[in-house]
């Protein structure tokens, strides 16, 4: 029998993998992809509780999360492209233009 706890554990592990990706990798595109993994973990939580409580509100909020993820990807990748055009790098250690 699969309980909501199973889904919570899956979501937590996926979230942790995303956090590890954000912390460890230095390629900013991989970091953005890890953020997508984190948002997916949140969505799994929302949909699991929606199924458990027999209430579609969780799915509505999962759609909002997907919408925010799309906006984040578009703007983030635009920033990466603009940065790459100026500095020829996507290494996050070299992204210190705004440091004073």
């Amino acid at each position: 029998m699969i309980t909501p706890s199973h889904y919570l554990i899956l979501s937590a592990v996926l979230f942790a993998i995303g956090i590890i990706g954000v912390m460890v990798r230095r390629n900013i595109i991989i970091i953005l992809m890890s953020i997508e993994l984190i948002l997916n973990a949140v969505n799994i939580n929302l949909v699991a509780f929606s199924a458990q409580l027999q209430n579609a509100v969780g799915q509505v909020f999962a759609l909002f999360v997907i919408c925010v993820a799309a906006a984040e990807a578009a703007v983030g990748l635009g920033i990466i492209l603009a940065f790459f055009r100026n500095k020829e790098t996507i290494n996050i250690d070299e992204m210190n233009l705004m440091r004073w």
Binding site: M1, I2, H6, Y7, L10, V13, L14, I17, G18, I20, G21, V24, R25, N27, I29, I30, L32, M33, S34, E36, L37, N40, N43, I44, V47, A48, S50, A51, Q54, N55, A56, V57, Q59, V60, A62, L63, F64, I66, C67, V68, A69, A70, A71, E72, A73, A74, V75, L77, G78, I79, I80, L81, A82, F84, R85, I90
Partner: protein, 169 residues
Amino acid sequence: MAQAIAFYTLSALILGFAVLVITARSSVHSVLFLVVDFLFVAALYVLLGAQFVAIIQVIVYAGGIVVLYLFVVMLVNLKRPPEAHRDKRRLARLGAALAVVVLVEIVAIAFYGYVGPSPVEAAPGALATGNVEQVGMMLYTDYLVPFEVASMLLLVAMVGAIVLTRRNL
């Protein structure tokens, strides 16, 4: 029991591909693993009875966002030219194998659809949640204002992305 098997299989695949996403050496491989990961998450949504979110996951994530990532990876990652690979015919063989697999699958589906039993009609009210009608009704009545705010967010993000990628920034 079948649900448990499906859940554990999907969980193992989701977590395995997530690990591959963050450990892959090449960014292109990472993006492709991300597509597979999103597809398995969509399958998990179907298992949970959230068909609409699953479809949106496939269309928006696996279809839209990941293609965006792939474009950016191709634009910024030009260290190794594509013709540097040793075996030039490897892709041709892989493509042929994939084409054969798809052909077998289509034939199998056609055969099954022809001689197999007609699909069983789902009992009304079997799924109390997850149907498109319920989510859509909620989205356009109780959550109309957040819905409009989300559309404005997408508009702003679109304008922002266009402004950011202009030549003379």
